[in-house]
């Protein structure tokens, strides 16, 4: 094992790509995997055991919609039995009271419910599904249980102005944590980027409002804000550093250092059906590729921040600079930063024109041509 290899800390289990929602910023790849290729229950059970043995503490069940798996209760039980802390990251849509009870009994530690907005029409437009009212019902059911609850509001230009109403939902829910997660531009979000990027004015308002909310909700709800990194001065330490903390398993068993990693050409992913998790973590070419600092170019190579942000996101470097070893172009020190500035300039100029024409009240009447995420084929 390479001396720089640290213990795996969290396993992200992408149980399926099937989902009743069609969110326009979905982080799933444009090429979705079909049900026929999904790992069976017993292989997942082995993966959870191997993850715990490799040092992992947490298993995050996601998708697609993890509740679309008919064996979801068994999967929760086997991950918990393996010794992992189990989080369910869900839209809450295919859930009824009996299923929730079964999940809690099986040992579910933490329920993370996603919201697409605070108003029904916005949420339904973004998710391409009538889903909002059901989520509010799920919040009421959750009050019966003493399990962890996080609300996750995915925010962007079309819903950031509903922040006040989002905070009201948070307060009523009694959630221990809320994430205001700005859309990150990969997958379907990359395809819809120009329609989703917030304006600088919206972002400033958001930062200021959340600062106050932190005081208001102190000791009740922890607020976590994910910045839209195109506006950041320095890049995010993506996935806590490549191959340093996290492993993602796709529905068919491919082991990825990050959900967006397939956008990087030439990376070869191992599959959990063929190799143990520890072997993959320690030796797989894809995980080794951007470990440590040998791959870095300037300005990262000699930058004081390289041990903090690891040069930012490799997938974003690929998407924006066309080179996975480049400094993440959102970094103010990156040679490719002007590309990001040009995108922001376009958003801020055109939206000021847009808001001049359309008053806030009429904004919801403007029809946007989204590229919705479909479901994978059934074969």
């Amino acid at each position: 094992m390479a001396s720089s290899t640290q213990n795996l800390l969290a396993l992200v289990a992408e149980l399926t790509h099937r989902c009743p929602l069609h969110c326009v910023y979905c982080s799933n790849p444009l090429e979705l995997q079909s049900r026929a290729h999904e790992l069976p229950t017993e292989v997942w059970a082995r993966v959870f055991k191997e993850a715990a043995e490799a040092g992992a503490l947490q298993a995050d069940f996601t998708g697609g919609e993890p509740l679309a798996r008919p064996d979801i209760v068994d999967l929760v039980r086997s991950a918990r039995t393996a010794g992992l802390y189990v989080s369910l990251i869900t839209s809450g849509l295919p859930l009824d009271e009996a299923k929730l009870e079964a999940l809690v009994q099986a040992g579910l530690d933490h329920f993370q419910l996603s919201f697409q907005g605070a108003r029904e029409e916005t949420a339904n437009d973004i998710s391409g599904t009538r889903s909002h009212q059901h989520k509010l019902r799920v919040l009421q059911w959750l009050k019966r249980y003493r399990i962890g609850l996080t609300l996750n509001f995915v925010i962007h230009r079309r819903n950031i102005d509903e922040l006040e109403e989002m905070l009201a939902i948070v307060e009523d829910s009694g959630a221990g944590c809320v994430e205001f997660a700005s859309v990150q531009y990969y997958g379907w979000a990359f395809a819809n980027r120009e329609k989703l990027l917030p304006t600088r004015q919206q972002l400033d308002y958001c930062v200021e409002r959340l600062k106050r909310a932190e005081e208001e909700l102190h000791g009740k709800t922890r607020i976590f804000f994910v910045v839209p990194d195109y506006y950041a001065k320095y890049p995010k330490p993506c996935v806590g550093g490549w191959g340093r903390k996290l492993m993602l398993i796709t529905p068919n068993g491919d082991a990825l250092p990050c959900h967006a990693a397939p956008v990087i050409p030439g990376l070869k992913f191992e599959n959990v059906k063929n190799r143990s998790l520890r072997e993959i973590w320690e030796h797989s070419e894809a995980f080794q590729k951007f470990r440590g600092e040998d791959w870095m170019q300037e300005p990262c190579k000699s930058c004081d921040r390289r041990a903090q942000d690891f040069g930012g996101c490799r997938c974003q470097a690929m998407l924006l600079a066309g080179d996975a070893t480049a400094t993440d172009p959102v970094c103010s020190l990156a040679p490719q930063r002007p590309k990001v500035d040009a995108i922001l300039a376009q958003i801020n100029d055109s939206s000021s024109a847009e808001t001049a024409l359309v008053t806030a009240a009429a904004a919801s009447a403007v029809k946007i041509e989204w590229l919705y995420r479909p479901n994978p084929s059934s074969f």
């Binding site: 040092g55 503490l57 947490q58 989080s87 962890g148 221990g176 102190h218 000791g219 976590f224």
Partner: protein, 95 residues
């Protein structure tokens, strides 16, 4: 916000103790905290039964070589940190 000495802390919903490779950890949504020596002694007493002042008293006995006031300040600081992390609920008043 300061910690009330009469309140009885207990682990918040979604937080529990865990163990991995003989290392005690406090598991929380999206994160985990390694527990060693004093931090483990504090967290294992956050059971909704011990009041903050009882926890302080017991740890002052346990770490009798340390300056009692310093022990108290460290515990209050640590509990405030866990409160900020939303890892504790504080039941009010005495039993």
């Amino acid at each position: 916000m300061s910690v009330d000495l009469n309140s009885r802390p207990r682990l918040a919903a979604g937080c529990r103790m865990g163990e991995n490779n003989n290392q005690q950890v406090l598991l929380m949504p999206e994160r985990a905290l390694r527990l060693n020596g004093p931090s483990l002694e504090i967290v294992s007493r956050c059971d909704g039964k011990h009041s903050v002042s009882q926890i302080i008293g017991e740890l002052q006995l346990l770490y009798s070589k340390a300056e009692p006031h310093k022990v108290e300040q460290d515990i209050l600081g640590y509990l405030a940190l866990l409160q900020k992390e939303r890892a504790l609920d504080f039941e009010s008043g005495t039993v």
